[in-house]
Chain length 336, copies 2
DNA sequence: TCATTTTCTGCACGCGCGTGCAAATCGCTT
DNA sequence: AAGCGATTTGCACGCGCGTGCAGAAAATGA
């Protein structure tokens, strides 16, 4: 297979201009919404463009102007299916509104600034860190020198003032979950969280434990898996439960996300031979497709991804300049 | 939050040139591998660039040259976690070698050419269709007029001569699976495939059925789920098994991928109350993380993603111009 | 030391399009 | 038919860097 394009050079605005009998700039106007151009000329130009197969070159456009209509999507933790949902929604909605999406892998080991730097070399209008923790200082460094104009934290929290946060309201979410559990009569929760790092960017654990404390007056013990993956969750849950006598055993595991919750269910059922929810109930967070399967039926909480993505578009277009926290939707299933 | 960059304009090669006391072109050389430049000057330039925080602007570079080092990744079917693995591997390896990845969503309903066209506006050096079926004619149209230079089909098959295919060798894979099933004594397989479209780009069904026919002389019946998702698989499997008396029931379901296989297992266990593998065994394809969980333990086949990604790099760099089919690895678990 | 090769550096030009303004054209009124 | 404002069109300049070549500097050999 060799290079395919038949007419060796790409067709430019000049070609279209010649074909339509106008100037190159008029061609540009024809493609620009709300440009000052007469209906007739625009139609003629677009017709010519269509027969010639012309589409404006956005690289050149971004060089000439100072916006690229390109957004960098930075993420890691590629083993959580929820990321796929986030990516799908974001790319679909962004492209639909004329934004290109540059997918960048922030490997855990290396630093986030390397990823940001790579993105900045492509003149992105904004960088969106998707559902993943990151190191504030590194980003600050990266932002100082580079040409990333906006930095958005999506589906996580950041206190960095140079940053815009778009996320599900974890406080409301954890209240819904806690209220549901109290209704159902659960009294001895244990919180299963991910790695206990300083830059954890989820408020689920603190908001749940403080609300539970407030409603019941009792503390919520927490345990931490080494990573957001099945096996670490299984190991951690086994370690905890195999020590505890049945009487003091927790009656529900509140998990920071669905991956941990599913690992917890597997541990409870297949390692410890107990039943969910009769012996121990489990809740998750995110509502990944697997939650609905008959094998799990996991009670969980769905983030308002579409609305958040719409807010992201507002941010990109400059009409949203404040942090956003939106309520999601509690989803009750058989695991509680 | 407003635009962050402190020094309002980005720093350009000219600035670095002035700081290092050389010309702008020498700065460019310092950043270009194998460029004709003395060791000393390069070090000086790079030092200056470092203190100024300069990085070459790849947009401008791609305008000036005719390569962008940008690759468009086209995909759909965002509910298969295997896509996440593919995306992760590809983005990580491509960025690692200096390629940017533009993620484009090919919605099922609309046509692939719209996605390709969007990508072509960004001067991509190649478009990679990832693990998804597509319509040949649409791509052909899109390729005719646009400036996509190379079109690669990744993890699927295409007969289009303008296209380069990089995929797992489905024939070897299905032989491994069939041999394993025959060893284990299974004799009445049914093949569970995805939607029965004309442009299906997987050879798993035909290769399995013909090899099974060859080894046993018996036909393999096939059924088709309406989509590659849990529920369609569950529905289809229930529909088939509830009609069949236990004697003529299949003893193994060979599934086109893991998603279908997991749906099949759920149907067998939770809808029909049968056991896997005692009553019916199941095999999948892809080895998504869930396969290893104790709840499923799915026998499956792992595609050689890393090697395929390496081949993709060769394709991009021009050293690979032929289709590639690589063997993967059979993974036996408890579901057979 | 000088001539010759080899290595290194500078430069004119262009990639395709956006911006902002000036010139041209149109539509309407009197 | 002239005149005025509103609308539409054309254009010089620059965005930041790559290419290919010519000239300068350094390295080599006798």
């Amino acid at each position: 297979m060799e290079d395919i394009r038949d007419n060796d050079g790409a067709v430019t605005a000049d070609d279209v201009a010649a074909a339509a009998g106008v100037s190159r700039w008029t061609v540009a106007r024809a493609f620009k919404k709300d440009a000052s151009i007469s209906r007739k000329t625009r139609d003629r130009v677009l017709a010519a463009a269509d027969t010639l197969g012309y589409v404006p070159d956005l690289s050149a456009a971004s060089l000439a102007s100072d916006r690229s209509n390109l957004v960098a999507l930075l993420t890691n933790d590629f083993n959580n299916p929820h990321k796929l949902v986030l990516l799908e929604r974001l790319t679909r909605m962004l492209w639909g509104r004329g934004w290109g999406t540059l997918l960048v892998h922030m490997s855990e080991s290396e630093d986030a600034s390397a990823a940001l730097m790579a993105a900045s070399q492509r003149r992105v209008d904004a960088a969106v860190v998707i559902g993943t923790r990151y190191d504030d200082t590194l980003l600050e460094t990266a932002l100082g020198a580079r040409r990333v104009k906006k930095l958005v934290i999506f589906a996580r929290y950041s206190q960095n003032p140079n940053t815009l946060t778009l996320a599900c309201d974890d406080e409301l979410a954890m209240r819904d979950i806690a209220d549901h559990l109290l209704d159902k009569g659960y009294r001895r929760p244990v919180f299963l969280a991910g790695p206990d790092t300083q830059s954890a960017k989820l408020l689920r654990k603190p908001t749940f434990t403080s609300y539970w404390q407030q409603r019941t007056g009792t503390e919520v013990p927490a345990i931490h898996a080494d990573a957001y993956a099945f096996d670490p969750a299984i190991d951690r849950v086994c370690a905890m439960l195999s020590e505890a006598p049945a009487e003091t055993r927790p009656d529900v595991l509140v998990c920071e996300n669905d991956i941990l919750a599913i690992g917890a269910m597997d541990a409870i059922r297949y390692r410890l031979g107990l039943r969910v929810p009769q012996d121990i109930a489990v809740t998750g967070f995110d509502d990944i497709p697997l939650c609905a399967s008959p094998a799990y039926g996991l009670t969980t909480y769905r983030q308002p991804i579409t609305q958040l993505a719409e807010k992201l578009l507002d941010v990109l277009e400059g009409t949203q300049t404040e942090n956003v926290f939106l309520p999601g939707r509690f989803v009750a299933r058989e695991s509680t």
